[in-house]
């Protein structure tokens, strides 16, 4: 929760700002504290009725699969309800309320149920207020104070929902970034980076960083960059590829570019990028051959190889 507080920048100043915006005065808090007795008396019926509503709806019921869960959330709900009537609104209160929001987000309850329940909840509380004190100015003022604090809580819950969504998004972006430069070791000292999709300057930059890092990590002699899946290459990207090639050479390794498409080749040459220092091969297979060549290996036919090895052994029969 501390983390949430930090991310939402919920400090004393923010709390004061929210309090004033929701118009929660000391009088409100005093009124709430005075309602404590009422709250303690009415908690159980309110919570019971509240859950009758939630569990009565097929879709919201799904979030409460068994009796144990229902008992647990009812207990939490009692705490929550009594929490409204402490007369204290500090950072600890905020932290508590964020936890409530996070719990709802955590079980995947959509905001519609959360907000919908709150409307029902407020109606229930009001009915109980009227029952206790009778309709009038006192009851209206009390209800007003409860409503303010409940809306304050709802705002916090929405914040946790949105924050959680943003966190998800950030995680996915990180995953995509990672997937966008999958450097694979295809042989000892030979790396392969297949590129698919659009390459923009940011990605090109990242490609360079990843490539250099991996070359060092893997002690690679050759890295093959296959761009058969890249349909568009602009000046900047071509330039980045060239720089990557040069930087890799500085590390003592070679870069081979494979799979340059006709349109990409046309663009690069027409843009006037000097590519004379960039070794290229049409197909990935040829790139791998060249790479093996560079590290002093060749691909040979297994049959010829086996024949050569077996030749001295007379006792072994040739396979048909």
């Amino acid at each position: 929760m501390r983390e949430y507080m930090k991310k939402l920048r919920l400090d004393e100043a923010e709390l004061a700002s929210r309090r004033s915006y929701f118009d929660i005065t000391d009088a409100d808090l005093g009124r709430l504290a005075a309602l404590r007795g009422f709250a303690e008396k009415r908690t159980d019926p309110i919570v019971e009725e509240f859950y009758r509503h939630i569990l009565g709806h097929g879709d919201s019921r799904k979030f409460f699969p068994d009796d144990a869960t229902v008992r647990r959330v009812k207990a939490l709900q009692r705490q929550y309800f009594l929490g409204l009537f402490t007369g204290v609104l500090d950072l600890k209160y905020v932290e508590d309320r964020l936890r409530v929001g996070a719990a709802h987000e955590h079980i995947g309850m959509p905001p519609k149920f959360y907000l919908g329940s709150y409307a029902h909840y407020l109606r229930l509380v009001r009915a109980h207020l009227v029952e206790e004190f009778g309709a009038g100015a006192d009851e209206t003022a009390s209800y007003g104070s409860i409503e303010k604090l409940v809306y304050f809580d709802m705002a916090l819950a929405m914040d946790t929902y949105i924050l959680a969504g943003l966190e998800d998004l950030r995680r996915h972006q990180a995953a995509i970034r990672e997937l966008s430069t999958p450097v694979i070791r295809v042989f000892q000292q030979v790396l392969l980076l297949p590129l698919v999709g659009a390459v923009d300057t940011q990605r090109a930059q990242q490609i360079m960083e990843t490539v250099l890092l991996r070359v060092i990590q893997e002690q690679a002699k050759v890295i093959i960059i296959d761009i058969a899946g890249v349909l568009v290459v602009d000046t900047k990207v071509a330039d980045h590829l060239l720089k990557t090639t040069a930087a890799v050479r500085l590390l003592g390794a070679e870069t081979i570019i494979t799979g340059i498409r006709a349109e990409v080749a046309r663009t690069i040459v027409q843009l006037g990028v000097d590519t004379s220092s960039m070794p290229t091969r049409s197909r990935l297979a040829e790139g791998i051959e060249l790479a093996l060549n560079i590290i002093g290996k060749t691909i040979t036919d297994r049959k010829a190889d086996r024949g050569a090895r077996r030749a001295p052994k007379d006792d072994l029969q040739e396979e048909p």
């Binding site: 570019i257 494979t258 340059i260 498409r261 006709a262 349109e263 990409v264 080749a265 046309r266 690069i268 040459v269 027409q270 590519t275 004379s276 960039m278 290229t280 091969r281 049409s282 197909r283 040829e286 790139g287 051959e289």
Partner: protein, 129 residues
């Protein structure tokens, strides 16, 4: 050895083993030159050929535009992993290019198609013909 004859635009691009042979027999006017370049590069992409011979025996005049197209096409082919060789350049064409001061370095040349094939063979020892 396979031989495939294909007409695209007006310049045939033949496939001989893993080499493409483009014989230019018509004047390379603007649209034709553009078309020629696209055709050759697309053929490289399709076939994965490792060598390209551009036969310009029939061209008795090469202006700077045509020269540029030829040089650029060679560079593009090289990017795609295909060594390009210009073959059959006429003496007067060579003289004109030199006189124009056209930068033709980086482009390989050979006397005729035969020599060009031999040159490609030397460039790529693992060349399969």
């Amino acid at each position: 050895m396979t031989k495939r004859h294909e007409m695209r635009g007006s310049i045939p691009v033949l496939r001989i083993g893993s080499t493409l042979l483009a014989t230019i027999q018509v004047e390379l006017r603007d649209s034709v030159a553009e078309d020629f370049q696209r055709t050759v590069l697309t053929r490289i992409e399709d076939t994965g050929s490792t060598g390209l011979l551009i036969d310009i025996t029939a061209l008795d005049m090469v202006d700077s535009y045509v020269a540029r197209v030829l040089v650029e096409t060679s560079k593009m082919a090289r990017l795609m992993g295909t060594e390009a060789v210009l073959v059959g350049m006429r003496p007067e064409v060579a003289a004109t290019l030199v006189r124009m001061g056209f930068p033709v370095d980086g482009v390989r040349t050979a006397l005729d198609v035969d020599d060009g094939l031999a040159l490609l063979g030397r460039l790529r020892p693992a060349f399969d013909l």
